[in-house]
Symmetry: C2
């Protein structure tokens, strides 16, 4: 059985709130130091939502840039996928507000969520699976997160790295020889409580804290994640150094550096920007992709390994050609 088309990225965009919070600012709010945060995570500062910033407004900021980069009209969008833990309101989906604001009158729209950090890979895969030459020729994928409106700033375990932002891409239907070269995805729901936010639902628990078993997540990042990437190498019949560039979820500079070392790929083949943006959940890998494209680190025709992982526990690795 076969399918005669594929999907390719034709535009990227990102958007972060104006307000910046440095590690020095955090020293006042929690028992931590600039040096400790930099050493442990690589983060120097992060952007945080102001009172007028919402999931929809950040999403629209990133989406407009991606649409402009793709050089298509909003009316040509057929689907808007918005991935986030959060939302403007319970219903309808924040994607519906974004659809209206963009004037994407022909697009259907929905929100989705796996668990924050892995959202970019899952939203991209969902967009790729929707793409066809009939009803879904152009798909806008947005990942946005606003953690800082909800978290307790004295809970240093995770408040020291969480941040706000949005990243977006436009996918377009293309011929089979371009596009998606392979992917590997997995979920281990038995580890769901290793990185969770036990609030805001029918369980009835209330918490301002994203809770994380740091050791479990560290081990996960060093075993399952590189294994997932290697599965994609095998699928595509390529080796680590055949890949032109690697984009990772920007949780922690040390995990990214270690994965590159495990794969025996030079550190110059990835882009790390969490020093400026912190951990913006699912948005982080799309913001990194957007910067890498706009700064010329990624060129047309390059093979890109895109990797996101985290709460679920969930992981996803996609190999695509620009």
């Amino acid at each position: 059985m076969s399918q005669s088309w594929s999907a390719k990225i034709i535009g990227t965009g990102s958007y972060v709130p104006q307000q910046i919070l440095t590690n020095k600012d955090l020293e006042i709010r929690m028992d931590t130091t600039d040096e400790w945060i930099q050493t442990k995570y690589g983060i120097k500062q992060r952007h945080v939502a102001g009172s007028n910033d919402n999931i929809s407004s950040l999403s629209i900021g990133a989406a407009k840039r991606a649409i402009e980069d793709a050089d298509i009209a909003a009316e040509n969008l057929d689907l808007i996928i918005l991935a986030s833990i959060n939302r403007d309101v319970k219903a309808p989906a924040t994607a519906c507000f974004v659809q209206a604001e963009l004037g994407a009158t022909n697009a259907i729209a929905f929100d989705m969520n796996v668990g924050g950090c892995p959202n970019s890979a899952y939203a991209l895969l969902t967009g790729i699976k929707y793409i066809d030459p009939f009803r879904f020729k152009n798909v806008l994928v947005i990942c946005t997160e606003i953690y800082t409106k909800f978290i307790d700033w004295s809970y240093r375990n995770t408040a020291c790295f969480l941040a706000d932002g949005s990243g977006a891409v436009v996918l377009q239907c293309c011929e089979k020889k371009e596009g998606i070269l392979g992917y590997d995805f997995g979920v281990n729901g038995t580890m769901a409580k290793s990185a969770w936010w036990p609030t805001g639902g029918t369980l009835g628990t209330i918490s301002d804290n994203v809770e994380m078993d740091g050791k479990a997540v560290w081990e996960f990042g060093h075993t399952i994640v590189p294994e997932s990437i290697r599965n994609v190498f095998d699928q595509a019949n390529l080796q680590a150094n055949d890949i032109d560039f690697y984009i990772y979820h920007q949780a922690n500079v040390n995990i990214i550096r270690n994965i590159m070392d495990i794969l025996k790929v030079p550190q110059s083949k990835t882009h790390i920007n969490n020093d400026r943006f912190g951990n913006t959940g699912g948005a982080s890998s799309l913001i990194a992709l957007d910067e890498a494209c706009r700064q010329g680190m990624i060129k047309k025709g390059d093979k890109i390994m895109f990797v996101a992982y985290g709460a679920g526990l969930a992981w996803g690795s996609i190999l695509f050609q620009m």
Copy 2:
């Protein structure tokens, strides 16, 4: 360009909480009458979640029945899509807890939402688009809603019809000649506030009330929804009476009866069960599908028009062969 496979439904399931609330019970809680609710909506009673019921527990109840009906092992599931306005916790997705509980170790999992009532059509379409003969051979689609843990029972406008429940289907990859015969979907985000729940998000508003512009939604149900169904007739080159059975979102008996009249199809070709279950959002149409299959109203080979619509405003019509 072409694709050599399609998707078919191989199992259905549903599950509702034990506790029943009749219209007579509601007369004590709000200024309404049994007669008014029955005349306006067709509802006599609804099932409501107890303190131990969660989005995950209802979902697992429906999922287990659908998997049993499909006669496959949980390990053969490749993807779990859970559509709901609500969730157990903010992160990870409730679908991850369901994956763990079912032992669906090979399935990836995510939550999605359009706006409640249309969720079944959107989750089904997403499942259909994921289906392939490679990585996603079997997909579990679940729609679950728990409204009654959150709503203000004195707000009669919508509290009189909202209810809790879950419906599920298992989709499987099949040959092109079976499966999906057509679909039509649309979103009008400029009407987002015609049916919304302005709470639980970055907007910061807090409300126990699902707010609805009844006139706008009534008009929407009588114009755009039948038009969407007719678009699918045209796609499939079929007429209204070529369809064996119609399954609708169970909002209101009068809207369903009117749509059947507009299409000039006998009322015997649909199944209405909101007299017993109320409006369970996205779950309602899947619960109706499950009952219609189990009670022999739908048989193998039948052409089924599945229609869901509501908050977004969003609508979706799918024509499939059982």
